[in-house]
Amino acid sequence: MEPFDDDDDNFVVFGTALEPIEDDEVARKKPVNIQDQVVLDENGRRRFHGAFTGGFSAGYYNTVGSKEGWAPTAFKSTRSDRSSAKVQSAQDFMDEEDLGAFGIAPQVLRPTEDFQSKRREGLKRPRPTPSDGPIPGDPVLFNILQPVKETIGIKVLRKMGWRPGQGVGPKVLKKKKKKREDRIEDEENQGIGDSTPARIYGCALPPPRSESEDESGSDDDDIRALLVAPDEVTCPLYNTKDNNFGLGYQGLDKNSLSSGHVDLFGPALKFKVDDRKMDITGEAFGIGVFEEADEEVYSREDMTQYDFALETPHERKRRLRQEARDKEKKKESDASSIPGFMKIKNPPKPKRFSRPRIPEDFVPVHTQKKSRFSEDKAQDKIAEIKKLGLDRHNLSRQERHVLLEDDNDLASRHLQTTAAFNLTSETNKTAEIRTAGTSKEIAPSESEDREKDAAARVERLKKFTEILQNFSSQKPKSTNAAFQPFMKHPGKQERYDSYLTLKAAGYAECLKDLQPPEMTEWERDREKLEFDRASELYKPMSGEMSSRFVSAKSHDISHMVPEREREKEKDPSQDPKVAAKMNLFGKLTHQVLEWHPDRLVCKRFNVPPPYPDSKMVGVRIGIEDRTARVEPELQESISKKSLFDGLDFSKPPPGLVPVASQLPPIANTAPTSASGQPQLEFLSTQPATSPTQETPSNETTSPTKPPLDLFKEIFADTSESENEADEKLPESGSKERNIDRQPRAEGGNTEHSKKHDGDKEINSEMLHKEKSPSNATKSQHHEERKGIFHNLDFSKLASSTDISLGSKISEKGQKQFPRGLPSTSVTASSKVKEEEEDAMDDEPTYGPAPPSNFLSAKKPSSELATSQTKRSYNYSSISNVGKKSTQSLPAPKEKEEIVWIEKNVLESSSSKTKRKHSKKNKSHHHRRSSKSKKVKKHKSSSSKHKSKKEKRRSSKSHSNSKSGHGDKSQSSSSSSEQSDTDSDRSSSNRKDYPSVSIYSSDNTKALIAKLKEMI
């Protein structure tokens, strides 16, 4: 519709007006051919393109206004105006015509799918769905708003004469129908019989109207004989009860709650049982089947609501009814429990679907076949790779661990030894078999020398197996079971394994005897070559790694730990709780771990951070400091040397009276002495006890004299480091309390008898000071030291006071002497005094020109080294100096964890010293060997020191270079470990890592002999 000019207001125009034909234009004769007709859109653009002009042409022509097609939308920040941020939709990219009536997204008002009569179309007949609404059957509105379209079925039915409202089926006699109607009516009037299957809740549907109803009154037989369409019968619908709620109960629905009104008390289910109405009310609350609804009393104000007698008629009625019902109930109680309900006869079974049967040959893992012709090539390949031992990447964790395992790892060692044993036994077996085989094969008539050969070989094999056994028990070979390059040929692999063992033992040539006799010489040579190559190729990683790294754990005695732990697990008495309950406090219940305090905590406690480089906070897991937990053997040996017990100045002396009082006075005083110089007199009378050491050390004079305390501190340290050589140094005052250590103090003193000959002057004042330590002063003292110590630059100190080092070293040297040195002339107490004096009097020895006797006694190490160049022991002693600062800082011990430290670092740190070259070569050895040495030591060191030392000498003869360190490590004191690990850790901090060589074993032996004579 289009408004025209004013004068045409009265007309309504439909359609589009034709273009007016202009006068001068001649009308076209021919209409446009259909193929030339083009559909244009309102913009005059061609609408269809392409094949049969039906296709779309996207882009410039139609939908997008630019030649380039879709222009990407420019980014527009919505930061400032968030509200205007909009979500893009498909419509944004459409033109108007797309949105138009003929477009792809028409914006026209049209009925929703429900009303498009699609529902009726698709299905044959609508399946009646039970409605939850008040009216049963199909929703009323739905029926009212019938779709316009009718299904073909209904169309057909209509054609066949069916009308809506009628039933489908053959026509029935009106009479019959009437009867049926009556019956239904009767039933409805009666109420719902128990047996009635078609029970309808709520109001019943009106009975279908039939034409005959009007005539029903006429009672005409003719009419009754008419055939009429049957009634439309709606099938009753039941909802299967699928919950365990009471009848009619519906849980509160979320939706109904949110929608507003919830009728909690309205009846949910109403029905009639014998002329009494039953209703089940309430959604959440209400009255159940068994109860009866109360009378409405308050809704109606009525006099009838009030009682005028004791028993109102109403009550009476009720009572009677109740009684009657009770009676009935009793009757019925057997049959059915609830009035109005009956037991279901065929309970609907929930549908169950059995599981699909899985075919027998089904493999749940999908394997891809390359082609259908290659059956299981991939698997074959994997197996092959495994056989070849090339699947390094598929190794399990355990296997990898074995590969990477360190030589010193006890657990793996254990594993290896067992493996080696197996191997040897196997070789034994094979040897036997082989010999048997050969003896069988070779005919007896052949030749006697052949037999002889065989016999000889058997002999040899026996020897080898012995060797192998010995060797494997001694030092397990480091081959591993995981790498078996000749898996394919078990015999070969076996040979290879034994070859490795033999090679390690130095009997590589013996492979020939292991090889089967039927092999030719060439084959044997080839095999040997192969083995050689394989052994190089398949070297376990530890070899590779160890050339580049030093295992930090090799420094300590932590390899003892797992054993102990295992013991603990086995032995309940090792359990700390059990021990504590048995009042066995001490090493079992004591445990020291590395703990990193927060930096701020340190600051607030006015304490320098103990681990300045560490960034972690908390307990380092797996790192246990064993310093406090002394090995039993160690403890024994410790208790033998009470002399050094107190050398640790930084430790607070026992502040408690009782313990101290239990001790002889020396116990308290002795510990304060520094660096065992107890027997000056004695030493001076024995200047020749150590002839090999009689060379003056290369003393570099210290430019500035540090305060006395400082030296004491240093000496305390050195003494500790010395102690390492002997035994673990008890770091605490508590050890002083060990009375049984007292006698050993003397023994220990003797050991150090020759150390400081030069320190003869006795500073009585100092002595006095030191000798009268009250608890308070002592602890005070200790604290002061701590403080001083923290300001100390150890590296500087160490470099400036070489002399102290020298003295230290000389002491160490002394330590190699037997313990039982004569100490006849000096009593224990006096010794102690002297010690103290010496401790205080170290000072003079630091002067530029030390006294001659001092020099002679000190046996400067450097000269020693030069004189004994060949068998020089390396010592790394000064690293201990720093450690002392933090009151016997226990070094963390790696129990299981392997910490690799770049060897170069270690070397560089150690290279500062003069004996750089030797150190370099051996520092690594130290580290690695010390451990194994320590084990032995601990076991042997329990009682006899003297013999032990000699023993050690001999046992260690193959590794002279390590014995020096071994001495040290033997002590296995906390400090030794500390020093090692400390030095490893902070090697960059403390550059000095001096190594000093001392005498050879021969010399010490001579010395020992001499000393023995003297005794």
Partner: protein, 305 residues
């Protein structure tokens, strides 16, 4: 106070605190005042000599389990069952800090020596260290090694000693960065550090109080006040006296035992009637404050008074 002279402790003051059961009683730094923590969620400051209440600190929402005064007497640190660790301003009675870091009731609190750190132990098996000087809401370090309730804390110059119901004492040596773990067999109910810092006094839930060498973990002495095994589970608080000569141990049987540190003998038994919950020793004089029931008793050696 010469050591040889036999002295007896007499009750010189008995304060009815009116704050429900007393959970803890603490002397302040110089011993002039005492702090009492009550089950009625308050902390009270008393001048014990006069028996006068000076202040009442309210702000906890559950009973207060422990409190400490700072070294400058300006602040009070308290821990409560409401999981809060609270720092109070003594004068203004206001809360100056409140740390809600624990997941369970706070059982014990401590200042460090300079009162620059607050340390709290809790039933959530952890000890937390807070910086008093910053306004941080969170702790600066958590010591979560204990595997059961932290029952007690003791702080020395550079050591934090933690007693836990898991039967271990843990000594965190800040100077050396070491954690020393000592197994006590049974739950630890109280810990104290001797004045020379060489030994720890540990109350164990087997009815004894043990003196443990700090460095070696060896048992130096064991004090037993009562033998009734059914009282073993009760909390026993123990402390050294000001001169480390005696060990004072509470008992759930209403007695306060004073042991000779050396001989392990009971020097004296003070009867308080009700079970003794908390004990604290005067930092300088021979005075003991013991809390039992809802009152606090101050004992003093006869010689001093």
């Amino acid at each position: 106070m010469s050591g040889d002279k036999e002295k007896n402790f007499d009750c010189i003051q008995n304060i009815k605190c009116n704050q429900g059961s007393i959970r803890a009683v603490r002397f302040n730094v110089d011993g002039d005042y005492i702090l009492t923590c009550g089950a009625d969620r308050t902390i009270k400051l008393w001048s014990w000599a006069r028996g006068v209440q000076l202040a009442n600190y309210q702000g906890h929402s559950a009973e207060v389990s422990d409190a400490r005064g700072s070294c400058d007497n300006a602040q009070i640190l308290s821990g409560s069952v409401d999981r809060n660790v609270t720092l109070w301003d003594v004068e203004t009675l206001r809360i100056s800090r409140r740390w809600r870091c624990h997941n369970s009731s706070v059982t014990c609190v401590q200042f460090n020596e300079e009162s620059s750190l607050a340390i709290s132990g809790s039933q959530d098996n952890s000890v937390k260290i807070y910086d008093v000087r910053s306004r941080a809401q969170r702790e600066i370090q958590t010591l979560n090694e204990p595997t059961d309730t932290v029952t007690s804390l003791a702080v020395s110059q550079d050591t934090i000693l933690v007693g836990s119901a898991d039967g271990y004492t843990r000594s965190y040596d800040i100077r050396n960065g070491k954690l020393t773990v000592d197994c006590m067999g049974e739950a630890v109910t109280s810990v104290a550090i001797s004045r020379d810092c060489a030994s720890n006094l540990v109350s164990v839930a087997d009815g004894t109080c043990k003196l443990i060498d700090k460095s070696t973990g060896q048992l130096l002495a064991s004090y037993r006040g009562f033998n009734e095994a059914r009282y073993y589970d009760y909390k026993v608080e123990s402390c050294f006296d000001n001169s480390d000569r005696w060990v004072i141990v509470t008992s759930p049987l209403g007695k306060l035992f004073i042991f000779d540190l050396i001989s392990e003998n009971v020097k004296e038994t003070l009867d308080l009637g009700q079970s003794v919950v908390s004990v604290c020793c005067h930092p300088q004089a021979d005075r003991i404050a013991a809390a039992s029931g809802s009152s606090v008793s101050i004992f003093s050696s006869a010689e001093v008074d």
